[in-house]
């Protein structure tokens, strides 16, 4: 569904992403892991069309994504790391605006709003200003805004930062439901246990390059641990990326 081919992006002398390639299939959740500054967000930004790659292609259903107004962008939903919501407006008005950006209007938009809010459990708070929401509710609404136009591909950039266990669990259940509906999900996070629970495949990126692309079991098999049991993902991650502190 989503295929990344040889993406490269640099900012001045810093090469943020260098020859990154991977794919995400329908009904699959791919975890994108990497230390701070590894190039995860830049990669997601290039897929979402926020940053123009210097080289490489983003393919949606086999077709190259080209330009700001490419209709294929409609197949992508972005859930940014920031709570990208208008606090001053009610949840319904936020979703109405974001839906209209994808050409939704009238009854179709109403249905989309109702469906998205239902999924994230905020249907009864549609008229409340976002500023009155808790952190967890804002995270769920942030997810709903990315789902509104029913995209085939969902890009989730650290979608559970700063939320309580209940909201996090609710988000996980939402993602599992979306996966079961055939959505392709790309999920970046620093929380290893989230990837262990959700991901079908894991791409590890460091210094702008893909250093591993495998299933959890495949990655665990790369690292031998004392006692013979499987290594934790964190052990695998630290083995692959090293223990030196990053900026």
């Amino acid at each position: 569904m989503l295929e990344i081919r040889h993406l490269r992006k640099s900012f001045g002398t810093l090469v943020a992403v260098d020859d990154v390639s991977f794919s995400v299939e329908r009904g699959q959740l791919v975890g994108l892991l990497g230390p701070n500054g590894a190039g995860k967000t830049t990669t997601v930004s290039m897929i979402a069309g926020l940053v123009t790659p210097e080289r490489g292609d983003v393919l949606i259903g086999g077709a190259r994504l080209a330009g700001d107004t490419d209709p294929k962008k409609r197949q992508i939903g972005l859930v940014p790391q920031d709570l990208a919501l208008y606090d001053e407006l009610p949840a319904g008005a936020n979703l109405r605006f974001f839906g209209a950006l994808y050409g939704l209007s009238g009854a179709a938009l109403d249905r989309a709003i109702a469906s998205a809010l239902e999924l994230v459990g905020l249907a009864d708070r549609v008229s409340d200003r976002v500023s009155t929401y808790s952190g967890g509710m804002k995270r769920r609404l942030n997810l709903a805004a990315g789902l509104l136009h029913d995209p085939d591909i969902l890009l989730l950039d650290e979608p559970t930062v700063g939320v309580d266990p209940q909201s996090r669990n609710a988000i996980f259940e939402n993602l599992e439901l979306l996966k079961s509906r055939g959505k392709a999900l790309l999920y970046t996070t620093h929380y290893m246990e989230e990837v262990e629970r959700l991901a079908d495949r894991i791409v590890v990126i460091d210094h702008g390059r893909v250093i591993a692309d495998d299933t959890l079991a495949g990655l665990q098999s790369r690292v031998a641990v004392a006692g013979g049991g499987p290594a934790t993902l964190e052990t695998v991650f630290l083995t692959l990326t090293g223990r030196s502190l990053r900026d």
Partner: protein, 430 residues
């Protein structure tokens, strides 16, 4: 997908955000009306009311016919609010700002001024003690006082006791002088004629019946407004100026809001949607223009209803200037968003920029009080054209021709601001 749905959504969202912020609404609509009402009451001109009188303290140490004449004339002058305290009190009044000027007439002033009138005596000083912060009032007092002193001195010298005495004393001095005989005879004949004139006119008790040298003309003033029966309405200028100031502030704030939207990650969502860059900026431009136009029109609507401001020129011209002004302000907001850096930096810089523009553009005070070079400089300030255009369409009563140049210039500024904004806008959202 049609671009109209996202465009309308962008505009609707910005309008909704603007009106959801009560502080923005008050600052944009109520504050300019309040300030414009205040400035309008000050600059409404003399047609509507009596001008404020200048506080003048006068001290007469002379008590001669001339000095009492000066005091009486100054007391009757409608430009002065005259008091006659002791000298120490007069000086204290000026020092404390209760009087703009203290006029001190020294002893012997009348006699000396009479002698100096015909050029054969030293000119006596008339002391003016003034408040240096009120230089314009001092200049007015000096001019008005000149008239009163000349009138009092000439009246006394051409018909008063002092004049008679001076002629009587001068005739023997001429006879004894060494001047040429023909000049001596001519001068003696002239003074003898004056003496004869005096002898035929006995001294008069009522000074008002005698007149000295007076201004040999009167001034007929005509305020060049929209028509002969239409008085200048200072509120038209003040409401135009204040509305422009606050719509610029509103648009600068809109630009800063765009920077905040970027900080909050909202532009990532906007940019990830299949919406063109033109549509995104056009949405901001249209909403900004709509808000600016509302601020301008609401301000003028208030001025029309409450203060009787009228569009004496062309209504179409008024709207063309108003729309062009709103577009210029909206493009200014985009410029702030494009080159503003961080919201905090942009806030400081744009506040200064807006204040400079409105000050130089004549939104606070008319530009004619500026030095000539500064008046020329203000031609590059868009506010100047907006203010001039709105003045032309309101109290000046100029037809559509008066709106053409301001409208075109404002549209030119819109293009310049917009082009720089598009060129500098940061589109990548890493």
């Amino acid at each position: 997908m049609t671009t109209l749905i996202p465009l309308l959504a962008l505009v609707r969202k910005d309008l909704r955000l603007f009106f959801s912020d009560r502080r923005s609404v008050i600052v944009s609509f109520v504050v300019p009306i309040a300030i414009a009402s205040f400035f309008g009451s000050i600059f409404s001109g003399t047609n509507n009311r009596e001008p404020a009188r200048i506080a003048v303290a006068i001290v007469d140490h002379d008590s001669s016919a001339i000095s009492t004449g000066i005091v009486a004339a100054a007391g009757a002058d409608k430009n002065f609010r005259l008091t006659s305290p002791a000298e120490a009190e007069a000086r204290d009044a000026v020092k404390r700002g209760r009087a703009s000027v203290a006029v001190i007439i020294p002893a012997g002033f009348g006699a000396a001024a009479g002698n100096a009138f015909f050029g054969n005596g030293d000119k006596p000083p008339l002391d003016l003690v003034y408040d240096p912060s009120r230089a314009m009032e001092v200049a007015m007092v000096r001019g008005i006082l000149t008239q009163h002193v000349m009138e009092a001195v000439s009246r006394e010298m051409f018909g008063g006791e002092q004049g008679r005495k001076m002629v009587a004393e001068t005739l023997p001095q001429i006879a004894a002088s060494s001047m040429p005989a023909d000049e001596k005879r001519a001068l003696a004949d002239m003074l003898a004629s004056v003496q004869k004139f005096y002898s035929q006119q006995p001294p008069v008790a009522g000074e008002a019946t005698r007149r000295g040298i007076t201004m040999p003309y009167t001034v007929r003033e005509e305020a060049m407004t929209a028509g002969s029966n239409i008085a200048y309405n200072g509120y038209a200028h003040s409401f135009g100026g204040m509305a422009i100031q606050f719509l610029l502030f509103a648009m600068a704030n809109a630009g800063i809001e765009m920077l905040l939207e970027r900080q909050r990650g909202l532009w990532k969502r906007l940019r990830s949607a299949p919406v063109s860059r033109v549509t995104l900026l056009a949405g901001k431009g249209v909403s900004g223009t709509a808000i600016s136009l509302m601020i301008l029109l609401v301000s003028f609507a208030f001025a029309i209803i409450v203060f009787g401001v009228r569009i004496h020129g062309s209504v179409a011209g008024f709207f063309s200037v108003a729309i062009a002004c709103a577009m210029m302000a909206s493009a200014f907001g985009l410029l702030v968003a494009a080159i503003g850096g961080t919201p905090a930096t942009a806030r400081g810089v744009t506040t200064l920029a807006v204040l400079m523009m409105v000050m130089l553009g004549g939104a606070w005070v008319p530009t004619f009080i500026f030095p000539a070079w500064l008046q020329q400089f203000t031609m590059i300030v868009p506010v100047r054209w907006a203010v001039d255009g709105l003045d032309a369409m309101t109290w000046r009563g100029i037809g559509i021709s008066g709106a053409v140049v301001p409208t075109l210039v404002l549209l030119g500024f819109t293009v310049v601001f917009g082009t720089i904004a598009i060129a500098c806008f940061k589109w990548e959202e890493a």
